[in-house]
């Protein structure tokens, strides 16, 4: 960003885990103290590097779950056959050191300030909600009143990440869930995979020149992005970030 002094390092640095918090039975948020953190933008990610005592190394990318100005945090979904996620969600404790690199990314970012008025359409597939949550937190912190709709596709209600926070629904933010596998008794909301009809009902009208951010597994992103373009959203107004099977970008 022109005019901004680049503080901090764009290479690997050692951070200390300051807190861990379970979001769901399989999802945990880790907060870090990062000595040379240069600050970040909502939507960016960081890379984590682990080193075993035999020298074996593993690297993974995770979206930053916190807003600019808040302590750096990531939210990790545990995959049963994973190599890194079980370690991060079960073994890591406050005080542990972890190498990380970031912030990374200049495309899937939202910098909206207090004077921004472009309506936002956020579409999350599973753990794709993480960078979108950073955007929502940033929106609150800067006092933005842009209208936001978050369509969050998830298997069931217990799988919803950040549920208490999303339920609080700050002014101007609408959260719409679609529970694709299991619904609680009496559920009257969406209960299927996102499809063109659902998008048609949820998306801001094209005439309002909205900006859309789609994040989740590739299958999810491909379908949703195509549906938005079919609805008339210019492709350059639909930002996409695809996560792999590991739940990371």
């Amino acid at each position: 960003m022109a005019g901004t002094a680049v503080r901090g390092r764009l290479t690997w640095q050692t951070a200390t885990v300051s807190a861990v918090m379970d979001e769901t039975s399989a999802v945990r948020t880790l907060s870090f103290e990062v000595p040379d953190w240069a600050g970040h933008r909502a939507g960016q990610h960081l890379d984590i590097r682990l080193t075993a005592d035999d020298g074996y190394r593993a690297e993974r990318s995770y979206s930053i779950a916190s807003a600019p100005g808040e302590p750096v945090a990531i939210t990790v979904e545990r995959l049963d056959d994973g190599e890194v996620s079980p370690y991060l969600t079960q073994d890591v404790q406050p005080g542990d050191e972890i190498e990380l690199r970031g912030p990374i990314g200049g495309y899937f970012v939202w910098d909206g300030g207090a004077s921004d008025s472009v309506p936002l359409l956020l579409l999350a597939g599973g753990s794709g909600v993480v960078p979108l949550r950073a955007m929502l937190r940033h929106r609150s912190r800067v006092g933005s009143s842009v209208p936001v709709r978050l369509l969050y596709s998830v298997r069931s209600l217990p799988d919803v990440i950040y549920r208490p926070e999303l339920s609080a629904e700050p002014d101007g933010v609408q959260v719409i869930y679609t529970l694709t596998r299991q619904q609680p008794p009496g559920w009257t909301g969406y209960a299927r995979r996102v499809d063109p009809a659902m998008i048609g009902e949820v998306a801001w009208p094209v005439a309002q020149a909205p900006l859309a951010y789609v994040c989740g597994p590739t299958n999810f992103v491909e379908g949703v992005a195509a549906d938005l373009v079919a609805l008339g959203y210019p492709p350059q107004r639909v930002k996409t970030e695809r996560f792999g099977a590991t739940g990371t970008p």
Partner: protein, 200 residues
Amino acid sequence: MSPISRGFHRRHEEAEPAGRVPPGQYVTHDFPVLSAGPTPHTPLANWTFSIEGGSSPVSWTWSEFQALPTETVTVDIHCVTRWSKLDTSWTGVSLDVLLDAVSYDDPYVLAFCDGGYTTNLPVADLKGGKAWVAYNYDGKPLAPEHGGPARLLVPHLYFWKSAKWVRGLRLRQTDVPGFWEMYGYHMYGDPWREQRYAGD
């Protein structure tokens, strides 16, 4: 100096050396899919396998290929990314049968595939019951993500040489690097000598 991540260890322990598993490998019961590009979907009506560069080019259509003598073999496969899978069962046509249809004196081939992937091999490593063009895996037609309708199967070399979606071989006087070999993977790729990268 990277800090050691307390309690972190690799997921797969290496297999005991000396035995069926080459050095540095672990045994998996999965069959990981590793692709450098989109899965091709060539209709069988359009599929051919060709050998070019001999005295005259030779080519088989799918039905002609199916009419060739086939074998079912059980082999171990070893991927350069360190997984090994034991006792895998394949059905296909031996390269001995295919190369017998051509008159040639070239010592090398470049295998070429739908999607543009290539890999290089010595002809000697395709002959003598060591290589097949396989179209069934585990008794069923080879799935597209695993290289179907047909892939090269050369189990004594690292599995990147067992080119998915193979469509033919180009006979050559000289050994030229294929796709991964161009970027530093070993020209030959013997898992028993751990020839993963050029210079190994």
